[in-house]
Symmetry: C2
Subunit: 322 residues, 2 copies
């Protein structure tokens, strides 16, 4: 009999932390499931002629155990010698630092892309370097980049977030290229043939929505035979990290676990959620969620380490196994 399949959809840091826990939990199961992560490409960009894929890299580095845990992004022990050269020549964005080991990944990726490989094949080849325990799939092989509508004009997500630290008020988000994109090979199958689909605790607006904007992915979630369970990225009315609050505000959604679940919607009512895991501090929202047709439970949701992340993964699987 084939192993059970678990498919996770998400972005960068929150997704990576969740996957570390899921992988640890999966290893304890009598029948270890195959794990697949469908990762957002909306943060991707061309910079200094290099194709940068922040979310895929964050997840790959974390699962490989080579990520910088202190800093929260990039490779551990990285240096910035190449970046300094680019800055001296005025190439690239001075506010977007590339570590040297990172540049190694970007040059490798760009080289393979220029050779004609689709991103999914590049990811397959690059992730083969380490025994990740999770198959990584980009949401699409097409270039779909998130732009932020602001009073200062449209900004690439990276410029809005990394350069301006989201201090320029966002009025909306466009996933440029999404309407002409198709899911990367394996993505629809990973959703349709999964035993469980999990939405990682990622920013719903700029990590999940750009995945859902790829034609076919939302429909696959709607018709999937597997239950779809999400982990709230909002705890006690505040973001765990990042700028989901500004993003949610921009699209008129309250920064709360309940509001995000309602935004994603119950599958029984045209949405994509069967279940939603909230933090203990949001226990009061559980009954409202159930009223909205979404199974819910309140558990400790802070992903402090592998153990706490594994407990969250276990709780998510338990919630939809009942």
């Amino acid at each position: 009999m084939a192993s059970p399949r678990i498919t996770v959809i998400g972005g960068g840091v929150g997704n990576a932390r969740f996957l570390l826990g899921l992988r640890a939990h999966a290893a304890t199961l009598p029948e270890p499931p195959d794990l697949t992560a469908v990762v957002n490409v909306g943060d991707d960009m061309w910079l200094a002629g290099l194709r940068i894929t922040p979310d895929l890299d964050t997840v790959m580095y974390a699962l490989a155990g080579v990520n910088d845990v202190e800093r929260g992004w990039g490779r551990a022990g990285d240096t910035e010698r190449v970046s300094a050269e680019l800055a001296a020549w005025g190439v690239g964005w001075p506010w977007f630092t590339l570590g040297d080991l990172d540049v190694g990944a970007h040059v490798t990726r760009t080289s393979l892309l220029r050779d004609g490989l689709p991103l999914s094949a590049v990811v397959e080849r690059m992730t083969a370097r380490w025994p990740l325990g999770v198959r990584l799939l980009p949401s699409t092989d097409h270039e779909v980049e998130t732009y932020v509508r602001t009073s200062q004009g449209d900004l690439h997500f990276q410029e809005w977030w990394t350069r301006h630290r989201a201090a320029v008020s966002a009025e909306g988000f466009d996933f440029r290229g999404a309407q002409d994109a198709t899911p990367a090979p394996g993505v629809l199958d990973a959703i349709e043939s999964a035993d469980v689909v999990i939405l990682a605790p990622s920013n719903p607006i700029v990590s999940l929505d750009p995945v859902l904007a790829i034609p076919g992915i939302r429909a696959a979630l709607e018709r999937a035979s597997a239950p779809v369970v999400g982990v709230s990225p909002i705890i006690g009315g505040a973001v765990v990290r990042g700028m989901a609050d500004q993003c949610l505000t921009a699209v008129g959604v309250e920064t709360s676990a309940l509001a995000v679940a309602r935004y994603l919607g119950a599958r029984s009512n045209g949405g994509i959620l069967d279940a939603w895991l909230v933090d203990e501090v949001d226990a009061a929202s559980v009954s409202a969620l159930r009223d909205a047709g979404i199974r819910a439970e309140a558990v400790p949701l802070w992903l402090r380490d592998e153990e706490s992340s594994a407990a969250v993964a276990r709780a998510a699987l338990t919630l939809v196994a009942r």
Copy 2:
């Protein structure tokens, strides 16, 4: 009155050492000349999606004073962190090491090329970082790469030289793309309006010939009003550095200062040389050179340091000023 103009044609290391001396000598003249170097691009290549220009970099780094003097190539104090990543992913050539600072140059160059700038504009922008005192021009904006015909098939010059250390016998050289190339902007003018043209002590077969193979450049040398003086890269029947002996043998030319001058030929007889500077140990060839219509003189020709290089530059200028 305009400053006198000196134009040097050459390749990498020998050219760079000569230019350092020429620049030093020029600074001592009552009327400092404008210096232009037309640099070989035959060693250039695409590697890991990056455009590498070894001769231009060698000259730029040397004139900028940031070259690795000990090692003889690359940047001083460079590291190889990016290269190690590429090797781990199996991208690039494991035998062709890229320093990290070097990668900064390659990423910058490639980015500007991908933006649509011709190589000459990229070189102009990148060299503006330092007060080089010499204007660098690539021989052409086209991609002209040297391939070596061997019993093992055609090898890119870098593969033949850097990987095989010229141990695979060369049967000939092709400058792929040369026939469809045109001189980079400024190259013909630098030759035609020069007061003196100097052939640097570079490999005649793989540094000078790929420049001369660009249609229009040899003709410009033939008709230039300025005298053309060459500095022999061969001293006492041996190469100073590199593999000119194997290259010369492959095209049936003896490894001697005299034979190389005859290979380049006297301008009075369809060649490109008015004068040829040889080392003291080759003094016996001076009369044969004069018989061949080439002014000649024997002087110490080892470019050990800036002072000895300046003396060679002075001797070259003196030889054609008489």
